[in-house]
C-alpha cells in the first residue's frame, strides 16, 4: 500500500501502462509540464516528448488525432483539462470515436481514453463547473468512468487504458488533492460498482465527488436511526446493475444522488431501471437546473451539501411504501 493523492494515483497508473506498452501515449495541452493538476508530473522526463505530447490549444484536433492514432495501433490517453472544454471536441467524440467501429462494419477499434474532469470547481463559475456524464452515457459506443478515490483513480485508469473501446474518463475537479491508500498494481474492473458503506434501510447510489458527500450524510443518518447503504457506481456506463439490484432487493428503496443537474441526469436512468425491475420506491436527487454561479452564495445553491442530502434521505426513509412523504 502506498499513500498518494488522486492526481498522483492517476499519474502512476499512466506511468505503469506506458512502461508496459510502448503504444500507450498521452497528448494534450500542458501535459509536458506535468498537466495543470500535476496528473502528468514526471512523465515527460521518463517517456520523452514523443510519447507525452504537448499540443496546441486545438481540442477538436487533439481528439480527432487521437481517433486516428487509435485506429492505427496506438493507445492514446487524451487530456481535455475539464469536460467543459471537451465540448470543443464533441464531434470527434460522438460522431467519430464512438461511431467508427460500428459504422465501418467492425473494421476499426478506437482504444482511447479521453480524460475530462467533471464537477464544480469552486469559484470558476458556469463554464468550468459542469458534470456532463449523462451526455456521454447516452452515446452508444462509449464507456464512461468516474472515480471517487485515489485507489479507484489508479485502478480504473489502468483498466480504461487496457479497454479496447473509447473511454470517457471523468475525474473530479476538486478531488486532485484527496489522499488515500493505493495497493500495488491495483486494478478495478470496468463496470464494477463498490459498496462504500453497508446499510439496511435504503440504498444510496452515487459516484464521483458526491460519494464523499453521501458517506457524510449516511454517517449522520445513523444518528437519526436510518441505515443507509452507499454504492459508488464508479463506472457510469456500463453500470453495475447486479450490485445495485442486489442491494435494493435487501433495502427496498433507492435514492440516486449526483452533482449533475437532476433533470435528464444519469440518476433518472438508474432509478427508472430499478423501478422497472424491482418495483420499489425510487428517488433522484441532483442539482437544480441552474448554471453554477460565481458568488459563493450562488455556487452554494448549485452544490448539493451533506445536509441537503441527509434531509432528502430522511424524507425518503420516512415515506410510505410508494415513496410518498407521510404528512
Amino acid at each position: 500500500m502506498a499513500l498518494m493523492s488522486y492526481a498522483q494515483a492517476a499519474c502512476q497508473a499512466l506511468a505503469a501502462a506506458m512502461r508496459a506498452d510502448a503504444n500507450v501515449i498521452a497528448l494534450g495541452e500542458d501535459v509536458g509540464h506535468g498537466g495543470i493538476f500535476g496528473q502528468y508530473r514526471g512523465l515527460r522526463e521518463e517517456f520523452g516528448a514523443a510519447r507525452v505530447i504537448d499540443t496546441p490549444i486545438s481540442e477538436a484536433t487533439i481528439m480527432g488525432a487521437a481517433v486516428g492514432m487509435a485506429l492505427t495501433g496506438l493507445r492514446p490517453v487524451v487530456e481535455m483539462r475539464v469536460v467543459d472544454f471537451a465540448l470543443c471536441a464533441i464531434d470527434e467524440i460522438v460522431n467519430q470515436a464512438a461511431k467508427n467501429r460500428y459504422m465501418f462494419g467492425g473494421q476499426g477499434r478506437v482504444p482511447l481514453v479521453a480524460r475530462m474532469p467533471i464537477g464544480i470547481w469552486s469559484g470558476s463559475a458556469a463554464q468550468h463547473s459542469q458534470s456532463l456524464e449523462a451526455w456521454f452515457a447516452h452515446i452508444p459506443g462509449l464507456v464512461v468512468v468516474a472515480p471517487a478515490t485515489p485507489a479507484d483513480n489508479y485502478g480504473l485508469l489502468a483498466a480504461a487504458i487496457d479497454c479496447g473501446d473509447p473511454v470517457i474518463y471523468m475525474e473530479h475537479k476538486e478531488l486532485w488533492g484527496l489522499e488515500g491508500e493505493v495497493p500495488p498494481q491495483h486494478t478495478v474492473a470496468l463496470g464494477q460498482a463498490h459498496t462504500a458503506r453497508d446499510g439496511t434501510d435504503l440504498t444510496l447510489v452515487t459516484w464521483s465527488g458526491m460519494v464523499h458527500t453521501a458517506l457524510a450524510a449516511a454517517e449522520q443518518a445513523v444518528q437519526q436511526g436510518v441505515s443507509v447503504e452507499v454504492i459508488d457506481l464508479r463506472t457510469i456506463w456500463p453500470w453495475d446493475r447486479e450490485l445495485v439490484f442486489a442491494s435494493v432487493a435487501r433495502t427496498g428503496r433507492l435514492l440516486v444522488a449526483h452533482e449533475a443537474v437532476q433533470a435528464a441526469g444519469f440518476g433518472a436512468e438508474v432509478a427508472a431501471t430499478v423501478a422497472e425491475e424491482l418495483g420499489v420506491p425510487v428517488r433522484r436527487f441532483g442539482a437544480a437546473r441552474i448554471p453554477v454561479g460565481y458568488a459563493r452564495s450562488l455556487e452554494d445553491v448549485a452544490r448539493i451539501s451533506a445536509q441537503e442530502l441527509l434531509r432528502e434521505l430522511m424524507l425518503f426513509a420516512n415515506s410510505d411504501s410508494r415513496g410518498r412523504s407521510m404528512a
Partner: protein
Amino acid sequence: MPANTTAANASSAEHLLALYRTMARIRAFENAAEETSRGGVAAFGAATNATALVRGPLHLSTGQEAVAAGVCANLARSDYLTSTHRGHGHTLAKGADTTAMMCELFGRASGTNKGKGGSMHIADFAVGMLGANGVVAAGIPIAVGAAHSAKIRGTSAIVTCFFGDGAINRGPFLEGLNWAKIFELPLLFVCEDNRYSATTATDVMTAGEGAAARARGIGLAAETVDGNDVLAVDTAARELVARVRAGGGPQFLHALTYRVKGHVSVDAAAYRAKGEVESALENDPLKLAALRLAALGVAAGRIAEADAAAQTEIEAALAAARAAPVPEPAEAYADIQDTGAGLWR
C-alpha cells in the same frame, strides 16, 4: 523651439498622459484583485481559503496594459468588444466602472454581472463589452456575429475582438477570420501576444510565421506592433479603426507583449527561464510611457498624480465592494431562460 512644436508636444503629452492614466488604473485594479484573492484561487489544484474575497482563477494582464489602453482609446462607447479570460484591462479601458468591476470580482450583487460571472466572465454590455470568456477563442465567432449584425442593421458601430496568441491554434480563429473577410465585416481583430498559453511557450506550438501571417493568408491587412509601447499601439489601432469605420472590412493587429505574472495568479511559472521576467520588466509599458512623458517635458509630479488618482479610485472600489451585499440565493434561479425556468428540479 518654434511655438507650433511646443503646442504639438503639449497635446501629444496630454494624449499620452490620458493613455498612461488608463494603464495605471488597470494596474491598480489588478494589483488590488491579486491582493484580495490570496488563498482564494482554486486553479492548479491549490486549496482555497473560504474567506478570500476574490475566488477562482484570476488571470492578470499585468505588463500588457498598453494593448487594452492603446486599442480602446480609439473606440466609442457604442462600439462592441469581446474579450478573453484575461479581460480586466479590456473591460476597464472600454469604459466599465471600476467599482462595478471590483464588485463582480468580489461576487457581489452590485457587480457588472450581479456576481454570477466573476473575473473570468466579466462583461459590461452598457459600454459594449460583450464579455470575457472562459473558453479560449470562443469570443472570436461572437465578435464576427456582432459585426455581421452591425452591418445588417446599418449601424455605425464596429467590433473589436481581443484574443491571445494561444487562441490562433483553435479552429474558430480560421473560421472567424474567413467569415469576417468574405462578408467584409466592420471588425478589428487584436491578437494580444504575451508569448504564453498557460504553461506552454506558444511559439513551440505555432507553425509558420504566426498570427499576422495567418491573417494575411486570409486576405486581411495585418500589422504587428510593440504591444508594450502604448503610443505605438494607439497609432496602429487608430489607423486600423479608421479603415474599419470607412468600410474597409476586417483588419488585424498583432500586439507583441509579455505575460509578467503566471497564467493565473497562483501560478509561479517555474517553467520559464530564469531572468526572463526580469528582462521583460525593463519593457514595462507604464515605465516606458513615464519615460516618454518625461522626455515630452511632463513634470514627474503629474505622473505621480495619475498613479495616486488610480490608487484612490481603486481603494474606493475595494471599499465599496467590501461593503456591498452578496447575491440572494434566489438570484441563482434568475436570468436562466424565460420558457421552462422554475424551481423544480
